[in-house]
Every structure is written in C-alpha cells, then in structure tokens.
C-alpha cells in the first residue's frame, strides 16, 4: 500500500511540476508577445454587429477589433489597452438596443457563452468584473487551467477580434435573433445597468484621452428592428440622447433598409452589405465631413 501511494504521489508531483512550468511559460508568452494591434486613426470596436459591418480595409488607417458576443466590459478593457499605446482620432463603438439587454450580464455565468468569454478573458491582465455580474468561478479556473497549464499557447490573445464576413445570407432567423437578444429563459430580459455604466466609462475614457467617440447602430433587417421590445427601444433612445449631450457622435442605421441579399442574417450584414456600409460610414466620417449638419440627420 505504501509503495502504491508513494508512486501515485510521485506521479502527481511530476504532473504538478509540469503544470506549473507550463503556467509560467504561458504567462511569459502573454507578457512578452505583442498582440499585433497597429496604430490607426479609426478604431472600430464592439460585438459582431460592427465586426461584420465595418471592413477596415476600405478605410484609411483603420482597424477593427470587434468580436462577436463581446459585452461592453470586455470592450472597455480592450479600448483601455489599445489607448495605452496608441492614439486613434476616432473610435467607432457598436451601439444597438441589444447592447443594453441584460443577457450581456449572463455571459460569464451561462454555459452557452461563458466558455468562450473565459477563453478571452483569461489572458487579460487586471481584468475585473463588477460585483453585480455573476461569474462561474469554477468554470473560469477550469478554462484557465486548460489554457495555461497544459501546452504552450503561442497565440493567447483570443480577445483580439477583427473584421470577418462572408457573402452568404439567410434572413429567416429573425425570431431566434430577437429571442437571443431580448429574452432570457423564456421571459423578456431586463435592461442592463452594467452595460449602460460601461458605456459611460467608455465615453469618459475617450473624453479623457481626447478621442472622438462615435457610437453606431449597424443596419438590421426590418422585421428584426420592428420586433425589438419597446422597453429596449425606449431605453436605447434615452441613452442615445444622453450620449449625444456628452458630445458623442450617434449614428443610428438600425432602421436603414438594405436589399435582402446584403444581409448575412436578421441582424448582421454580409460582406456585400459591409462593403456598402463601410463606404457610407467612411464618407460620413471623413475628416472634413464630420460636421453637425451631416450627422444630425442620423440621430
């Protein structure tokens, strides 16, 4: 028995040493490796709406760091990280009614999103969530162990984001999209104070760094747009007004009608749609055209 336990203990000890070694290897990679975000004039951030709708190749000196399902708390951290080394002139932030839905607050506790979120945040230094956002700590540390202790991950920046799209289209998922964004466990979701607070923080961050912030709602299919529960559209309008008063450029294209074949699905543009939309935005935001008369009409 003693011999058995001794061997099992040695085996586990060697395994533990391996995990520890790998942990430090991965930590070094995270600290030393450059994420590869270039300096730019126009920075695009947000979730899948801006990730799919704005192709940075069509604008001069632009990069898109948007990523699907990204809540504002991660966007805020990413912007802070980007701004600490670079100084863009304009930041475009995706801002649509679904960004104010409380389903965003469940992304660190609900299995359907949590695994992906943990994969992104494990390498974010000093990232923290407010106390009113629940986090499944067991799953988080399990994910962190997987990504830090088993093998060297040469590309640990899963939060990096970037434009991504294809030229396909299926707009039959209107109901699913509405359900996904504005309902949770079968009933209408709440409004997210956490998202609104992070939006304020992003506004302040840009103000401090003297960067012009422009929030943008990308075109969605009309039946998706009209299906948004009133509670969310009303709150969205209030927030828009607040942002506008704070000097933020507000560009709302959510009710803009694009041809059906410009949509990837009910709430995203496809590559064809992205091309048109990016050109439209670039035109609108080109330095000499950022003036009030041009932008007022979009509010």
């Amino acid at each position: 028995m003693q011999g058995f336990l001794k061997k099992v203990t040695i085996f586990l000890f060697i395994l533990l040493c391996y995990f520890t070694l790998l942990y430090f290897v991965n930590l070094t990679i995270i600290q030393k490796k450059n994420i590869g975000w270039k300096n730019c004039e126009l920075l695009i951030a947000g979730d899948s709406h801006t990730q799919r709708a704005l192709d940075p190749k069509l604008a001069q000196s632009a990069i898109n760091i948007s990523q699907e399902a990204e809540p504002y708390c991660i966007t805020y951290w990413k912007l802070k990280k980007y701004i600490s080394r670079n100084t863009p002139s304009i930041i475009i932030l995706g801002f649509s009614p679904h960004n104010l839905s409380s389903f965003n607050d469940k992304k660190f506790s609900d299995k359907q999103w949590a695994d992906e979120m943990f994969k992104r945040i494990y390498s974010m230094k000093n990232f923290s969530l407010p106390s009113n956002v629940r986090i499944d700590k067991y799953e988080f540390y399990k994910t962190k162990f997987h990504l830090m202790c088993l093998y060297p991950r040469l590309n640990p920046f899963d939060y990096k984001g970037g434009y991504s799209n294809v030229n396909a289209g299926d707009i039959s998922d209107v109901n699913e999209a509405i359900k996904r964004h504005f309902f949770y466990n079968g009933s209408e979701a709440d409004l997210s104070n956490v998202s609104a607070e992070y939006l304020d923080s992003i506004t302040l961050l840009c103000k401090d760094k003297k960067i012009q912030l422009a929030v943008i709602a990308t075109p969605t299919y009309y039946s998706y747009f009209s299906g948004i529960p009133k509670k969310f559209s009303d709150y969205y309008d209030l927030e828009k007004e607040k942002l506008s008063k704070a000097g933020v450029i507000v560009l709302d294209f959510s009710s803009e009608r694009y041809p059906d074949n410009f949509y990837l699905n009910a709430d995203h543009l496809n590559a064809r749609g992205a091309e048109k939309f990016t050109n439209q935005i670039v035109e609108l935001l080109s330095v000499d055209k950022i003036n009030k008369s041009n932008l007022e009409s979009r509010k």
């Binding site: 028995m1 011999g3 058995f4 099992v8 085996f11 695994d115 399990k142 997987h146 088993l150």
Partner: protein
C-alpha cells in the same frame, strides 16, 4: 456526479483513503463504507430516487430469503413472482409507461378513436435498468438454487448499489460479486495498478475519442439536412466509434475503480469491432447484458433447442427485448429486430459459434478473409447504429435515403466548418491510432493491460503522462455518458 468530472476524482480519492486506512479493520467496516459512499454517489444524481433503490434492494433481499426458506415449490414461485413483478412494474412505470400510453393512443386514433393519453412528467431514475436486473438475477439464481441467500443486508445492498456499477453496469451476478463482498479485502498492489491503468484507458476512450466524435455525430444526426451521402456515411462511422468508446470507456472506468477496492467486476466489452460475424459481435458487445438475456430469458425459453419456429421465436424475443431494454422508442426495437435478422442466418446455418477464438491470435496482422469479415460485420453494425441513434424510424429511413444518393462518393462536407478541418483530421488520426492500440492489445482484458509491461519505467511513465495530458487537453468538451439515459 459524472465519472469524467473532478468531483468524481475527489470523491474516489476520499473513499479510497477511508477504505484502506480507516475502514480496513473489518469486512463490515469496508462494506459499510462502500455502501454509504455508493448511496452518497447516487444521491448526487437525485436523492429522491435513493428511496426507490433502497426499496428495490430490500424487496429482493427479503424475497431472496423467503425463497430459500420456502419448503415447497409453490411458495418459492410465489415469492419469485412477487419480486419479478414488482421490479418489472417499477421499470415499466418509470421507463415505459409514457411509451405505451402514447403508442396506444396513436394506434387507437388509427381506428378512429381519439384519445388524449395521460403521460407522466417524470425523469427516469438513473441506473434503474441496471439495478433492477441485478435484483432479478439474484432472486432467479436463488430460485434455481445457484446461490445461498445473503442474510447480511449491508452485503446485499452493496451488491446492488456498488457505486462503480450502479448507474450503467456492468450488470453483475450474485454468483460473481457477492462472494467477493463476503470476505475481507486485502490491498493488492498489482490489482490497484491495473485498475488505474484501466481507468486511464477508459478516460482516454471517453474524453479523447467519444466526446470528439460526438461533435460531428450531433452535427450530422441533428443538424443540417443538406449534407452529402458521404458525410452521412462518416456520421454513422463516427457514431459507431462514439458509442463504443463511450460505453466501453465507462465500463473500463467502472472496472478499474472496483479494482482499486480489491473487487473484480464482470467484463463488459471484448474488442467487439474486431468481430468476424454478428454472433461474435454479440459475444463481445455489452457482454453482461447479452449474457443476462441468454441465461435468464433465452435458455429458459428453450434456447436453440426445439423446432425451427421456436428457435426463430427465441432469437427474436431476446433481440427485441435487448433493444427495448435500451429505451422506450421504436428505434430501439427496430435496432433489436435488425440484429435478429443479421443473427438468424448464422444460427440457421449453425455458424453462430464459428468464431469463438480471438481473431488472428498470436499474429500481428489478420488474414485477408478476416479483414473482409471484420469490415463486413462493422459495416452492418454501423447500419444498425443509424436506427439506434435516430430519434424516430422516419428519421432513420430518411438517413438511409440520404446515404444512398449520388453524393455518396464526394468528399464529406460540414456546413459552417468545411470538408476536413484540422480538428477533424486530428480526431480521425487519433481514432486510427486508438484502434491500432486496441488491435495490438486485443488478447488482453483491455488494450493497454500489458502493452507496455516490458518498457523501462521512464518510458512507461512518459506514456502515462502523455495520456493524462492528452485527456486533459480534450476534456473541455465533456458529454454525459450515453448509457446513463438507459
């Protein structure tokens, strides 16, 4: 508490230490500890059903004693009937009631009688199909004077509820397990090491192979309808691999765990995909269930004795029962019937016991004939698995139709993923390597039982480390064991 969870590893470590350091002074202490641990393990699933388990245990314990005490055959039969009836009634109520109610209503509506069946909104108690069969085999063995009654309730309860086999078998026999629970167990180093090795191999099968295959299986069976014929063929093969690695992986973990406590459980799998005909496959697949039906249904019905029609009837009865045991769905019954159809010609031609030995025993490579026979057997098995995996018979028929389309010779393609991604190629390569190891170890109780016995310790340990790390890397896609639902 899943076997493939951290919770189980912690639970097992605690029970192991308590068993060999605290409770090892007496047999009573060892068995009591294992019983408490088993009830705790079961309560983690659903503590309410623990009372059902205890009731079923007490019923069989009591009727077992009554059968042995009865002096005339009439009383013996009475107690036996009571035990079997109550056990089957519980199983029928929880597992089959809704199926019969809905099927009856559907049949009635075909004749113009519209009924609104009263269905139960209950979950199936975990392991009920397994522990019910434990109990039934015990009372039947008692009735046939194969064993003496177990008077110690703790020992008997542990026979029914021993946690490694409680939720998905192997279906134990009192003649095999009870004697091991009636004597104090001493720690056996070699048995414990073998147990750990078998557990490791079980985890590898489940986490690295079965759970990876499940991604593609779920995608093909429940996902898009516009896939090529070749993709559907790949889906059937993936499912054949998944269900084997899932269930035999579970069995390996169960057997390995039991060995840590000095207990040897019945073998459940013996490399079934290396079978050369369907009869051999059934001698190697879910052995504890097949032999249960053989001993308690097939042989009492007359087995292969009697007229031709009686033989055919008996074959169909055990295969249909075997299918129905898996669940209340026509797909399982059809799967059983299909296997009976496969088996029948072999039995009628008296070729069902041709391949009793291990394929290519003592050789590295099989003969061309063996390869052909194994491929054919695997092919028809995959065909039957499609019925087993489908949600309905209509779905199974649609699957067959899709396979036999013009696109059967095209490259498999998965919408949203592509044709052959790096992950899928990795899964296929690991699966091929896995079957090579299984082939090399096919003469053992489990593939890696003695494959590395002559290796130096650093090499052997390196292989163990590599296996553990591979298992951990793949462990982020944990799926429940398929057979837990049965």
């Amino acid at each position: 508490m899943l076997f493939n969870s951290i919770g189980f590893i912690v639970f097992l470590s605690i029970v192991f230490v308590l068993h060999w350091f605290i409770a090892n002074k007496s047999l009573k202490g060892q068995n009591l500890l294992l019983l408490v641990a088993s009830y705790f393990f079961y309560s983690c699933w659903n503590y309410k059903f623990l009372f059902l388990l205890i009731f079923s245990t007490f019923l069989d314990y009591y009727t077992g004693i009554k059968i042995s005490e009865s002096e005339n055959i009439r009383n013996k039969k009475l107690w036996l009937s009571l035990s079997i009836t109550v056990n089957v009634a519980f199983l029928a109520f929880f597992k089959y009631y809704n199926f019969f109610a809905v099927s009856f209503a559907e049949a009635a509506s075909d004749f113009g009688f519209h009924t609104d069946p009263w269905v139960l909104n209950i979950i199936l108690p975990v392991g009920i199909s397994f522990y019910t069969f434990h109990g039934i085999s015990y009372v039947i063995d008692m009735y046939n004077n194969r064993i003496k009654p177990e008077k110690n309730f703790i020992n008997y309860s542990l026979f029914v509820s021993f946690f490694p086999l409680l939720v998905a078998g192997p279906i134990e026999r009192a003649t095999h397990l009870l004697p091991q629970l009636q004597r104090k167990r001493e720690f056996d180093y070699l048995q414990a090491v073998e147990g750990l090795k078998q557990m490791l191999w079980g985890f590898f099968k489940k986490i690295v192979i079965a759970d990876q295959c499940s991604i593609y299986v779920n995608m093909i069976f429940t996902g898009s309808t516009n896939l090529s014929g070749s993709t559907y063929v790949l889906g059937a093969i993936f499912f054949a691999v998944q269900i084997y690695c899932d269930f035999s992986g579970y069995s390996d973990i169960a057997l390995g765990t039991a060995k840590l406590f000095g207990i040897s459980l019945l073998r459940n799998f013996a490399f079934p995909y290396f079978s050369r005909d369907i009869a051999e496959f059934w001698r190697r697949w879910h052995i504890s269930l097949s032999s249960w039906f053989r001993d308690y249904v097939y042989i009492p019905l007359g087995g292969n004795r009697g007229s031709l029609w009686k033989k055919i009837r008996n074959i169909f009865i055990i295969f249909l029962l075997s299918g129905f045991w898996h669940g209340a769905n026509w797909t399982f019954i059809a799967w059983g019937a299909l296997n009976a159809v496969y088996f029948l010609p072999l039995m009628l031609l008296k070729k069902n016991r041709t391949n009793l030995d291990i394929v290519a025993k003592g050789k590295i490579l099989p003969s061309a004939k063996d390869v052909l026979n194994m491929a054919l057997t695997f092919g028809i098995t995959c065909f039957a698995w499609i019925v087993f995996r489908s949600q309905s018979l209509e779905e199974a028929l649609a699957y067959f139709k899709k396979i036999f389309s013009s696109s059967i010779f095209s490259i498999p393609y998965f919408p949203g993923i592509g044709s052959l991604t790096l992950t899928m190629i990795t899964t296929i390569i690991i699966t091929i390597l896995f079957f090579i190891i299984e082939w090399l170890g096919r003469e053992q109780q489990f593939a890696i039982a003695s494959i590395n016995i002559n290796w130096s310790r650093p090499l052997r340990w390196s292989a163990y480390f590599a296996t553990v790390i591979i298992i951990l890397i793949y462990s982020n896609n944990q799926q429940p064991f398929i057979y837990f639902q049965f």
